[in-house]
């Protein structure tokens, strides 16, 4: 029931109202925290996990930011429902495998969420639209302070916040930006860019991990190291590198428009044509076409459309979103039909307005 309600609207952060939102889809800060005196989840018995979840959920109740949140028990969900949460960036792949005493707390706008008993006792995250990573950090920082009033965190001055995986020890913070880089992708500048980013101590990857082709030309930049630097320094670094990438994408778009203007228009027009007239669309095809159209919209070639509509569509058409919204399991062909119908509906409705 809760999930179906969620499926009827897109997350707040897909609204494209943040700075540079045409290129920076979203930014995210997450913190890993553990309770002192309790074994970390990968090794803990069920009874420990239960004690931990009781404590954490009690702290959540007293939190000003989280008290009106949705509380979702992972063990009560089907695999499609867990996948639904994964696609909405509310849980990690690890968490989506389910398990006892695991909870997701998510505030209604889905900007703030907390996984209880993932790899660490607490995984707190904020996602905002566009490039406002420092704001995302400040928000997460505040909620972390608030939760800490009722929890004792495992911490050592030398090592900082103690985490299950040594890659998170210290600040326990991962700060990342998700970027839509179609012009850099089409001009084959992405590989070089990724290499340069890794030289700066950051990780750049397609949405499916290193070495894989990124579907829809979406890429993610995040910090690698969590020990030795202050959170603000790290956030600042990720933000400034992202800003440079945004600058390069803008430049590539200008060049593309000037050099291959007519080809570009043709490609985007065809993408639009297919999207508004197809009756069956596979997920991969839809994403690739929507990505092209999103670039066109950013370049003001489709004045009747805006980036937000496209962002929402990316959200709504994944297999799990479709099935949760419909409230039933669906065969691939049925999904392809529904996907095409939703896209046609959204794009042509808006097209007729003006």
């Amino acid at each position: 029931m809760i999930l179906q309600e969620m499926a009827n609207s897109a997350s707040q952060w897909s609204r494209a109202d943040g700075p540079e939102a045409e290129i920076v889809f979203s930014c995210r800060v997450r913190l890993a925290r553990n309770l002192e005196g309790f074994t970390f989840p990968p090794w803990a018995h069920d009874s420990v996990l239960k004690d931990v979840s009781d404590k954490v959920l009690n702290a959540v109740k007293r939190s000003h930011y989280l008290k009106n949140s949705r509380l979702i028990k992972m063990s009560e969900l089907s695999s499609t429902e867990r996948r639904f949460l994964l696609e909405r960036h509310l849980i990690s792949p690890e968490f989506s495998s389910g398990g006892p005493h695991r909870f997701l707390v998510t505030e209604k706008r889905e900007m703030i969420s907390l996984m209880v008993n993932e790899e660490d006792h607490l995984r707190l995250q904020s996602i905002l639209s566009g490039l406002q990573l420092m704001d995302a950090w400040r928000l997460t920082d505040k909620i972390d302070d608030e939760l800490e009033q009722n929890l004792d965190y495992a911490f050592l001055p030398q090592w900082g916040y103690l985490t299950s995986c040594p890659t998170n020890t210290g600040t326990g913070m991962r700060a990342s930006c998700m970027l839509h880089l179609p012009a850099l992708a089409v001009t084959h500048k992405i590989d070089e860019l990724m290499k340069n980013i890794s030289k700066l101590g950051l990780v750049a990857r397609g949405l499916y991990g290193e070495g894989t082709k990124s579907q829809g030309d979406f890429f993610q930049i995040s910090n690698q190291v969590t020990l030795g630097s202050r959170e603000e320094e790290v956030v600042d670094h990720v933000e400034s590198v992202t800003r440079q990438v945004v600058g390069q994408e803008k430049k590539a778009r200008d060049i593309l428009l000037r050099r291959d203007g007519i080809q570009l228009r043709d490609q985007m027009g065809r993408a639009y044509g297919t999207l508004v007239s197809a009756y069956l669309l596979r997920s991969e095809e839809a994403i690739s076409l929507l990505s092209k159209l999103r670039l066109g919209v950013s370049l003001n070639l489709f004045p009747q459309l805006n980036v937000q509509v496209l962002n929402e569509l990316f959200f709504m058409i994944t297999p799990a979103q479709l099935q949760v919204k419909e409230g039933k399991e669906m065969a691939a062909l049925d999904r392809d039909e529904l996907r095409a119908k939703i896209i046609r509906g959204r794009l042509s409705k808006l097209g007729q307005k003006k």
Partner: protein, 178 residues
């Protein structure tokens, strides 16, 4: 590593799905089961049936998974299996196998084994970020420094340099006391 290990691979030529034999394969994995390598080429539909399909927005292999693999390869310690943490009961051998530390106390009790591991991943550095509000006496000083630094940043942004300078001296004084 217990169970199967999957790695995404990029094939050189177009492949047909091994399950249905009809559609083009778009998911390519190398699967390791007990040392045996098997390649898998599946189309979107069959991959999904097998629970392997990845759709848009699904974050891929996490950094920590990669790192867990790394620690397995890079820490050739046969010792460290006899000492175990008094709280969670794990030895360094256990931790190494899973790539995950057992509890907060491991960081102290198994320090001699964990320090080289942490230094390899993070560099030879000390934590300089956020500090919990509640904590031991020495932690409280660190928390104070953390809060002063935040204030300092705000003052600098407001260009209130005189007050910022005072704050900076205060931070230095506290740091010397460490």
């Amino acid at each position: 590593m217990i169970g199967k290990k999957k790695t995404i691979i990029v094939p050189k030529k177009k492949m047909i799905c091994q399950v249905c034999g009809e559609r083009e394969a778009t998911f390519h994995f190398q699967e390791m089961t007990n040392g045996q390598v098997k390649e898998l080429h599946l189309c979107e539909i069959c991959a999904e049936k097998k629970g392997l399909g990845q759709t848009f927005f699904m974050p891929g292999f996490s950094l920590s998974n990669l790192m867990a693999g790394l620690t397995e390869l890079e820490v050739p310690l046969s010792q460290g299996t006899s000492v175990s943490c008094p709280h969670c009961g794990l030895s360094y051998g256990d931790i190494k196998r899973k790539g995950k530390i057992g509890c907060g106390l491991c960081y102290q009790e198994l320090e001699q084994y964990l320090t080289p591991l942490l230094e390899r991943i993070q560099g030879k550095v000390r934590h300089s970020g956020k500090v919990p509000k509640k904590g031991k006496v020495e932690d409280q000083r660190e928390r104070r420094i953390y809060e002063l630094r935040k204030e300092l940043e705000i003052l600098v942004r407001k260009e209130e340099y005189e007050r910022a300078a005072k704050l900076r001296d205060e931070i230095r004084r506290l740091e010397r006391e460490k």
